[in-house]
């Protein structure tokens, strides 16, 4: 178990360094790659906390799907770096203001013991003891599908609405686009696919123009 602190410092250091590089990197693609590194190390920290289920879900959802789409979009963008940096000084005060609010909130979160002592003392559901043989996938399932089932369903509904919204915004029926109809292709038989003609010797038959496909 004494290996755990060494790995904690490794993951924590790389997470912070990668997080810094996300905003410091000049090339947006590099920034996204550093973001992925940060996600990955955060997953490592979850494993050290004993929350291996959350760690794997973090990797599957954020690294495996969300960041791929980020990378996809960023790679397709034609970014003009000079133009990107032009507005830096103009927007700096606003950025600093938002940063300050975030900093204050983070300080409050970290120092919550002073604001409300004993907030962690009573968890809303009993946490299974480490040796009880209950894996944390099971432990999460027990509270997620019983106590928090409505929140869970609500979150699912919001995602569904967002998904339908995205489809509605991008779905356009273009006129004049030829589409493949696999059913029609498979259903083609002898009658519809070939014409058998008897050609008399020395004669020629010009087939009638076929109705369009």
């Amino acid at each position: 178990m004494t290996l755990a602190p060494a790995f904690f410092y490794l993951f924590a250091f790389v997470t912070v360094a990668a997080g810094f590089m996300v905003i410091a990197a000049k090339n947006p693609v590099h920034a996204v790659l550093f973001l992925i590194l940060a996600f990955f190390n955060a997953a490592g920290l979850f494993v050290l906390l004993g929350a291996e289920f959350l760690a794997m879900i973090l990797v599957v959802v954020y690294v495996g799907a969300v960041a791929v789409l980020f990378l996809f979009v960023v790679m397709m963008l034609d970014v003009d770096f000079a133009e990107l940096r032009a507005g830096f000084m103009k927007n700096a005060p606003l950025g600093a203001f938002i940063g300050l609010i975030l900093l204050a909130e983070l300080v409050l979160v970290v120092g919550f013991q002073m604001v409300r002592p004993g907030a962690l003392a009573a968890p809303s559901a009993p946490i299974p003891a480490p040796g009880s043989g209950i894996t944390n996938a099971e432990a999460i399932g027990r509270v997620l599908y019983t106590k928090y089932v409505y929140y869970f369903q609500g979150a699912g509904l919001i995602l569904l609405v967002a998904m339908i919204g995205a489809i509605v915004l991008t779905l356009r029926h273009k006129e004049g686009v030829k589409r493949q109809s696999i059913a029609a292709q498979v259903a083609r038989g002898k009658k519809t696919a070939i014409d058998v003609v008897q050609v008399a010797p020395g004669a020629a038959i010009v087939p009638p123009a076929r109705a369009s496909q």
Partner: protein, 358 residues
């Protein structure tokens, strides 16, 4: 407060566990890579046999050493780095591809018995780890395609990104169906759950009928085809379709970086074969639990089943023509996604109604 650690504590706490971990990992990698060298040869031999050719037959007896000759050839050639490329990412991409593919093998159990250690890490969330790692395989491809600064490579990597993200969805649902039947995310538990099943329910001895390939037959087929697409194998090898994109995302690669990409690809294929074996073909369980078959150590059954699945991969490569891109997307989103979603609901319903859920 400063703790002072003595050397023996540091040795026992840090160095010894690290050494043990390193030893097992290196042992696994060496065995795995040698096996893959021969699987690669088998792939080419099967392909050749279908086309009535001899295949590689010059290096060593029956061409057995061909893969090692190829390794030497790749390593000894000069790596070319295009002038317009992003050099760091260009060289990082093949390393990412091969390391991620190899990392998946940390949780794959190849046997279970009283003596010996048959898995590097017996994770409780083993199959989720495998799913996570295999979904990261796309990064090697995207990074390689983008960093090459070439249109063919970029097109190949865009195709690959869309393809792998699409087929991951149905692979995820297939894994969920298997997990519903097992009740655990642990890989060893998944195999052990297949000791009883359809066959034993009717009083037969434990046999191949108990494995999930029969109980979840549609899912087995969906998983096999999705595994082909996820690993960019023919007929779904559109990211590197040589007749359209030269060699897709690998077009600018040469020498050792190219070797690493190919290695990553074949390791990923072997991982998918092992995953198929564990989830649907009963892992290291013998096909029939009677005397002479149960004496055979489980590892032989496991390797035999992996080779069988790999043989199917090789045969598909040999006689199925390449898909068109829109057909590939149609198959993934309009056929496999609804089918696997319905199966998740159906399997959950059957398990609940007949009270079979673990």
């Amino acid at each position: 407060m400063v703790e002072v650690w003595s050397w023996s504590e540091i040795w026992q706490g840090f160095l010894w566990p690290l050494l043990v971990m390193a030893f097992w990992s290196v042992l696994l990698l060496v065995v795995l890579l040698v096996v893959i060298a021969f699987l690669l040869l088998m792939d080419r031999k099967v392909w050749a046999a279908v086309q009535m050719r001899r295949g590689p037959n010059v290096v060593g007896p029956f061409g057995l050493l061909q893969s090692f000759a190829d390794l030497l050839k790749f390593v000894l050639k000069e790596p070319l780095i295009p002038a317009g490329s992003d050099k760091g990412v260009f060289l990082l991409a093949p390393v990412v591809a091969s390391v991620l593919a190899l990392a998946a093998w940390a949780v794959i159990p190849v046997n279970e018995d009283g003596w010996g250690r048959w898995v590097i890490s017996n994770l409780n969330v083993g199959i989720l780890y495998l799913f996570a790692i295999s979904s990261l395989g796309v990064y090697g491809v995207i990074m390689g395609g983008w960093a090459s600064n070439s249109k063919y490579a970029f097109l190949g990597s865009l195709r690959s990104a869309a393809q792998m993200v699409s087929y991951e969805v149905s692979i995820g649902f297939v894994i969920i169906t298997v997990l519903l039947c097992v009740g655990s995310l642990n890989m060893t538990d998944i195999v052990n759950a297949q000791k009883t099943g359809i066959g034993t329910r009717y009083g037969l001895p434990a046999s191949a009928l108990d494995w999930y390939w029969l109980a979840l037959l549609p899912m087995f087929i969906v998983f096999f085809i999705s595994a082909l697409a996820e690993t960019n194998r023919p007929p779904f090898d559109l990211p590197e379709a040589e007749s359209e994109l030269v060699a897709g995302f690998m077009v600018e690669y040469s020498s050792t970086p190219y070797l690493l990409f190919m290695l990553g690809e074949y390791v990923a294929i072997t991982t998918m074969c092992a995953l198929t074996t564990i989830m649907f073909l009963g892992g290291w369980l013998p096909p029939l639990s009677v005397a002479p078959l149960t004496w055979v150590p489980g590892i032989f059954w496991f390797v035999g089943k992996v080779v069988l699945v790999f043989f199917m991969f090789a045969m598909v490569k040999a006689f199925v023509p390449r898909y068109r891109y829109d057909q590939l997307m149609r198959l993934g989103w309009k056929v496999f996604l609804p089918l696997s979603l319905i199966m998740v609901v159906a399997v959950a319903g059957v398990l609940h109604v007949f009270d079979l859920a673990p």
